[in-house]
Symmetry: C2
Subunit: 275 residues, 2 copies
């Protein structure tokens, strides 16, 4: 509701280029990780946004997810929100935009170590799992570094009637970039989260110049630092709508979800338009 006024203020002040929300001071429990809705709602095609970005920023300055209408990948880094569109463009996200699924936390560093220089994302995850054995807690990880290569993807905005995520993901954009500096953001959730969020690792990337980003399908770090934040309190914000109440969210879609979120060799990969 207040977005027009916010936008007007930005324009008046000549700050149109920095309309992304300002760095917030997330209130409440720093060890809490908060998610909007549940992943099974997204799996069955509930792409309409339910929580505003401003609301999510109140729960954390770090996170990932998607946007209303499944319009690309959402990245929240240092309290600013970014959209990676299906065409690969990175744009700031306004506070009134909404998300149908996102996971955020105040990034409250619990420790750090040098990033292992490994051949790919699977090897990286193994090394991180060894370093972070708290398998029944949530953990947020940010890796600022250089990457010899990154395989990224994004999804295209959908219109109702929505198809299930498994079908939509078949038309995702996938592209590879080399020699980038930036931040890989990861959230690891316990194996027992079922259809509530993505079990295991879930990775997004944003370059230092904020021009390249996306959901990470593979990554080859050459240098960098892993900073992590253990989260022991997990909050799920459930949509307050008749549509949500009536959805059957019980099917076990774990295999489908794994394919959608971590299919590291999708066939055939399609690049974003214009790249």
């Amino acid at each position: 509701m207040r977005y027009p006024r916010f936008l007007a203020t930005c324009l008046v002040l000549g700050l149109a280029a920095s309309c992304a929300p300002p760095v917030p001071a997330p209130s409440g429990n720093p060890d809490r990780i908060t998610q909007a809705s549940v992943i099974n709602a997204l799996m069955i095609g509930r792409y309409d946004g339910v929580n505003t970005i401003a609301e999510m920023l109140e729960h954390g300055d770090f996170g990932l997810g998607t946007l209303d209408h499944l319009d690309g990948e959402l990245i929240i880094l240092d309290g600013r929100a970014y959209q990676v569109r299906g065409d690969g463009a990175v744009v700031p996200v306004g506070p009134e935009w909404t998300t149908p699924f996102a996971v955020v936390t105040p990034f409250d560093e619990d420790g750090s170590f040098a990033c292992p220089q490994v051949a790919g994302l699977t090897a990286l995850e193994s090394r991180l799992d060894e370093a972070l054995p708290q398998r029944n807690s949530f953990v947020a990880v940010r890796i600022e570094g250089r990457f010899a290569s990154l395989k990224l993807r994004s999804v295209h905005r959908q219109e109702p009637p929505y198809r299930p995520l498994g079908e939509v993901a078949e038309s995702q954009s996938v592209w590879t970039r080399e020699g980038l500096s930036g931040t890989v953001l990861g959230i690891r959730s316990p194996a027992w989260v079922g259809g509530l969020t993505v079990p295991g690792w879930h990775w997004h990337f944003l370059s230092d110049d904020r021009k390249v980003g996306g959901h990470v399908l593979d990554a080859r770090p050459t240098e960098g630092r892993v900073r992590y934040d253990l989260c022991h309190d997990w909050e799920v914000l459930l949509p307050r709508s008749r549509e949500f109440d009536q959805a059957d969210l019980t099917p076990n879609l774990s295999r489908e979800l794994k394919r959608v979120e971590s299919a590291r060799d999708p066939a055939p990969p399609r690049g974003p338009e214009g790249r």
Copy 2:
């Protein structure tokens, strides 16, 4: 650890009868339901308390669960905590006692209706499900009324090495009381909660004179009022221990859980000692 000192203080002050914590003013989100740990941890025998009762009362004035060492049924009503021991006795719970599993919420009434006069708990649940179709939200219910009969159970304090809950529940106490006035406390969780909490309805009872209580296996209400509180935000407080981190919480124990929590015809039922 500090309970003996607390008890001593109560005795010194002659306040033994009012050792239950005072009515708190739960802070934070009134639509949040908060749980200590996850039910699968209890299922596999993690009975050591992880959160204090004082801490749980900060999250809500209404709720149910169990106590350290699986020492009976926990009831939180109007901000006071009660234990129903395995022998059926109801005693106040001190703020320093701990719980390995409990679910609490600030009871913030969203509506009420006359309690259906039905023959048993299964019929009551069906009628409540019709009246409260929000199947993907949590709902807390309190029924103050008269009950022609109540079939109650409690469990006995365990000592390490702990056996799984399915085994322990076989030695539960089960007893039936007739013509009681009191409050039935219920929490309904969505079907998709998996091994995190009890899916569907979970009921405890406390009599008006605070002398009878327990986990409800059956109930026949003759009059009363149903008050309900819809909860859209769900928070899980995860234990911060190596033991918890190392536990395998992924098995599907739903059938076992259903048997433990709602076995309405356990055979053979055993009454509490001295009743």
